[in-house]
Amino acid sequence: MSDLEIQAGLGRSPRTSPSHRFGVAEVLAGLFGLFLITAALFPALVAPGDPLGIDPLSAFQTPSPAHWFGTDESGRDIYTRVSHGTGSSLLIGTLATMIGLGLGLVLGTLAGMLGPVVDFTVNRFLEVLFAFPGLLLALLFILIFGPGVATATVAVGLATAPGYARIIRGQLILVRSSAFVEAATVLGRSPGRILVRHVLPNALAPLFVLGTLGIGQAIVWASALSYLGLGAAPPAAEWGAMLAAGRTYIGSAWWMSFFPGLFIVLTAVSATALGRGIERRMRHA
């Protein structure tokens, strides 16, 4: 993922009047987010069954009141598995985003604060990283450290870092050259005080939004790695791994693939909707 991908998510909504009401999309996204967090922290609360409990007699059942999302080849309840998989999928997405943001913050701050020489060096370094577009950096990382949940998480974080770094650098440079920072200089404020009082709060305020938007994409990416057999492996109840397991039965049991994927999509959409909502509120605040 690159900065542009994130910026696409940051797109402006139409010139609506500054409204502090919640939009329908934001409310729905918020509700789904609440469900996900509940499922992640207390999976038994939303799905009391055992995600790994096999029941060969009820294998391949279509969605029904008894099994909302159907069952898999071993008769495991897909809804239970999807709910119990929320924790690991969210954790992977959040950790990957934090790694990406953290690295991006370090690189971006170095480039944006330490003068032209460091800026030039970091920029060239970022250009080199950008030449490993998308999954490539992640695949290279997995080649070196081997597949698995931990490496997949770090790999996604690493792959997102250059994009974050570029945004953070841009923000810092924008704010540092802004008229209000000059005005503070004219008032006789020291560079340290200007940094703490004006530059950092204004430059880093979008980080929260970036993070929210990024989690959705990070989950999509991490599950893609799992799907390709490079991240979490079946029978783990991770969404990407569940999809990979359902791949064999696409023709007969579509629900095995459909519902885990639906959760990935809904999570990513909710993250985008929430991120944009927060951003809009911040702008009009």
Partner: protein, 591 residues
């Protein structure tokens, strides 16, 4: 659109020529536009507060009517309503609305399209963005021909050349292949006018056609409009500036809050205004007004009932200081300043070239020049925001630009700054109170006060500042974004005063304000200067403003000061040809 008038019958206006407005349209010639009782609103139909409320006027061929009003008065909505472009959620109602003699109410969108460009042309403010920056201007001009005629490409080419020659663009064949960004401000404004008159419409609507232009270019564009007028085009000139329209308007209508408060022959409105709104606007024009004369007669109460915000400022900068006015000493001095910039293509540009000036205590030095003359760079050099390539700036007799920022910080409280774009000079996260508290807190720290008592003292000083600039306390909690332009500039002035400075550097402080608001801010600065003994470095492109506020004036051209001297002398007997040209171009009433 309207349910109150007859279904439009093209060509058959529902009223006769009897009872016409003061324009005196020649009998038998259809006016280019006639509007009676125009009401325009946004949102639900017949909802509260229409933006335009009963506006009536007409423009005859070969006549220029100027509609003058401040921002928010409904000028631009008037222009757009005449083109059927008031907006998707707008409703338009009128007793009569006709272009070139035929009724245009109840036109379908397709019918409107056939009239736009043919019966009426539009010229708007900034040609840089009013011509598609991605297309050659020739194509833009040819568009109206493509849309309204069956001319082939070669014939259109000829017509485009003709149009460009009519608007006086040199080397038309070459110019038509350029994009708006490749032309100078005056050239592209001419190209935009050419696009509007390509089909020779009987009516040309010019909405602030010269606002973004330098004064000399502005005069040329106004001359061009006057030429078109003499050739028979009816011109509806929309402007915020009475002095500008005075140059070419035959009649003037003053618009205020969606109503025309006064309408009549130009010299009558300008010399014998009847309505208070018109009088205020005319009084607010600073040209030829002596220094110290209030521009805003309505608010003549004294400012600064208390100077409480001054307490705690380091001694020596207080206005009560007895040796303050004894001998005129130089508070700010620029010696041989040079600043070069590297252009994107690698070549060098001398933005400021051996500029020297002295600002004497308690006086105002005005620096005037057109865009690109180096005024703003000079201000930034004076504030030590930019390092000069040669020369130095001295403040209160001490080295300022030549010392490191750390040492300079001790002198910074003596300098306040007011910027053109006040809004962007405020941290967008902070409220007015936080902005001002930040500004006064530095002073408190210097005098060594700490803790709760300092907080309370700060609060008092913030209130004092607010009072000094004439703002109500209720604004404290607001963000600058939610304030009006004039209020923002007052907050900006309050911030500049917070450290008790002796020098105020004002870079185009009133350029983005309405004339009456500009008058109030100029009055405020004048009053503050007299009460606090401030010395002002005042930078502006507006000769009228400079003439009104300055004791001394310096005229800049291409990075150099070409003429300097006492304001009265420079304005009465300019020596340098450039100064003479500038003064000749200044729009003034009754020239």
């Amino acid at each position: 659109m309207s349910d109150e008038t007859d279904v439009g019958v093209p060509g058959a206006a529902s009223v006769t020529g009897a009872g016409e407005g003061p324009g005196g349209v020649a009998a038998g010639v259809a006016p280019a536009v006639r509007v009676r009782n125009l009401v325009v609103g946004f949102g639900p139909k017949d909802g509260a507060d229409p933006v335009l409320n009963g506006v009536s006027f007409e423009v005859a061929p070969g006549e220029c009517l100027a509609i003058v009003g401040e921002s928010g008065s409904g000028k631009s909505v008037t222009a757009r309503s005449l083109l059927g472009l008031a907006g998707d959620n707008a409703w338009v109602r009128a007793d009569e609305l006709s272009l070139a003699g035929s009724d245009v109410q109840n036109l379908s969108e397709a019918q409107w399209r056939r009239r736009r460009g043919r019966d009426v042309g539009l010229v708007v403010q900034d040609a840089l963005v009013s011509l598609d920056p991605l297309r050659p201007v020739g194509r833009e001009i040819a568009d109206s021909l493509r849309l309204h005629t069956r001319l082939d490409a070669a014939a259109r080419h000829t017509r485009v050349l003709e149009a460009l020659e009519r608007v006086g663009l040199p080397d038309a064949g070459n110019a038509m292949r350029k994009r708006s960004g490749e032309l100078s401000g005056g050239q592209r404004q001419r190209a935009l006018i050419a696009a509007a008159i390509a089909l020779d419409p009987p009516l040309l609507i010019a909405d602030e056609p010269t606002t973004a232009l330098d004064v000399t270019v502005q005069a040329q564009i106004l001359d061009l409009l006057a030429t078109l007028k003499r050739a028979g085009t009816g011109i509806l000139l929309i402007s915020h500036d009475l002095a500008v329209v005075g140059r070419i308007a035959d009649r003037i209508a003053v618009l205020c809050d969606g109503r025309i408060v006064e309408q009549g022959p130009a010299d009558e409105v300008l010399t014998r205004p009847r309505h208070p709104v018109t009088r205020t606007m005319i009084a607010a024009i600073p040209v030829d007004k002596p220094r110290g004369l209030r521009l805003n007669p309505r608010a003549a109460e004294p400012v600064l009932p208390s100077l409480s915000y001054q307490s705690g400022v380091a001694p020596g900068s207080s206005p009560d200081d007895c040796d303050r006015d004894t001998s005129p000493t130089t508070v700010l001095e620029a010696i041989g300043l040079v600043k070069r910039f590297t252009r994107p293509d690698g070549s060098e540009q001398l933005a400021v070239d051996s500029v020297s000036f002295r600002l004497e205590r308690g006086t105002t030095l005005g620096i005037v020049g057109e865009s690109g003359s180096g005024k703003t760079t000079s201000a930034r050099l004076a504030l030590a925001l930019t390092r000069p390539d040669a020369g130095e700036v001295r403040v209160l007799g001490q080295a300022f630009s030549a010392v490191p920022e750390k040492e300079r910080r001790a002198l910074r409280p003596h300098l306040g700054a007011v910027y053109q774009d006040a809004l962007s000079s405020f941290d967008p996260r902070l409220s007015v109170e936080q902005v001002l508290r930040d500004a006064v807190a530095g002073g408190a720290r210097r005098t060594g006060r700490v803790g709760a008592s300092a907080g309370a003292a700060d609060r008092l000083r913030v209130l004092g500042l607010l009072e000094a600039v004439g703002l109500p306390q209720g604004l404290l909690g607001r963000r600058p974004l939610s304030l009006s332009g004039g209020q923002r500039q007052r907050v900006s002035i309050a911030r500049a005063l917070a450290s008790g400075p002796q020098i105020l550097i004002c870079d185009e402080p009133v350029s983005s304000l309405d004339v009456t608001v500009q008058a109030q801010v100029l009055d405020l600065l004048d009053e503050l200067q007299r009460n606090l003994g401030l010395s002002l470095l005042f930078i502006s492109h507006d000769l009228g403003v400079i003439q009104h506020v300055s004791d001394q004036v310096a005229v800049m051209l291409d990075g150099r000061i070409v003429e300097t001297g006492a304001t009265a002398r420079v304005f009465a007997a300019p020596e340098h040809p450039y100064t003479q040209a500038l003064l000749g171009a200044v729009p003034r009433i009754g020239f």
